[in-house]
Symmetry: C2
Subunit: 170 residues, 2 copies
DNA sequence: TATTGTTATACTCTATAACTATA
DNA sequence: TATAGTTATAGAGTATAACAATA
């Protein structure tokens, strides 16, 4: 197999990002949760009582999809819809006690996950990486803590960087 | 009350990686190509003449999916199946001249894409980032230049227990 | 009998749009 | 008439497994 030409930074980021998502998905699958569900839980935990419209807007997903997500987590007893008394069209979404427990567990998983991802780096390098990534995220206008996976992707993902020229082996 | 804890490095990587994929997908959409198609083109360009089985194995995708991808690019006149004379079950997949032209165009798009992604960083920082990411990719066992978006989901390694649900997006 | 490529089929996820209930 | 949430439906993308040709 040809050792490929050094991939660009965009492909590296896409590759590692997808890998990170995949690994995290495997971890939360042990709790019988999907990553979109975890993303919603995180958002609700961070700011309880938001309406479904608000949540959908933050996540960049259609309200109908949010209904499905909320349904699933509601049936699991992890979140709760509370009807707003002033405007009975609105649902305020809250975590249940069980939901808070699950979030604590997820927090632990995430810490382990992070540690495993950057285990090849020493402390200084981890700090550097974190700082560089934070700057990029801010510059690119990414909402803190919100995964773009909610938005519609044209396709699942393979960034390619083609420099052609004879195949270099190694 | 939510802790406004900063997102971990795993979430940052997942976020930026998905963003990178999304942006790149938008760029190649202008060529009426999807990112999986570009990924396959890249692989064929780097090492022409591989069989579909080999390509599928490298990408971690089922052979049947590869047929679909090859079909699309074949109809577009970008790649070619050449039957192996020694073993007539095998197809050797090659780029056409048009395919090579498209790869050159994609190379240009990728360069622009990379530049835009890391525009917040100076030259030294870009070099640092690239080095750190390369080390992580190697440590995590990622195949150079191959996006994990092809794989089906290796869910069991970490959690040990495993009810699995669908994988999530990158 | 085993392997390469193909086709047929079913399933999952998501978006669009129609619908209801409140305002 | 407008908005929040829901339901219904359709489409894209993918995996699984049966199948044909070749070894």
């Amino acid at each position: 197999m040809a050792d490929m030409r050094a991939p660009g930074v965009g492909l590296l980021l896409a590759q590692i990002g997808a890998h990170a998502t995949e690994r995290f998905a495997a971890r939360v699958a042990g709790l019988d949760l999907t990553t979109p569900q975890v993303g919603l839980l995180r958002l609700v935990a961070l700011d309880p009582g938001q309406s479904q419209q608000t949540l959908a807007s933050t996540l960049g997903t259609p309200p109908s999809r949010l209904v499905t997500l909320v349904d699933g987590l509601d049936e699991r007893g992890l979140i709760q819809r509370r009807r707003n008394a002033d405007d009975r069209r609105l649902n305020a979404v809250h975590l249940t006690v069980a939901g808070e427990r699950v979030m604590a567990t997820i927090g632990g998983l995430a810490t382990t996950h992070d540690e495993e991802l950057v285990r090849a780096l020493d402390r200084t390098e981890r700090r550097q990486l974190r700082e560089l990534l934070t700057r990029i995220a801010a510059d690119q206008g990414l909402t803190s803590g919100v995964h773009p996976g909610y938005r519609t992707l044209p396709a699942e993902a393979v960034t390619g960087r083609g420099r052609r020229r004879g195949p270099a082996r190694s």
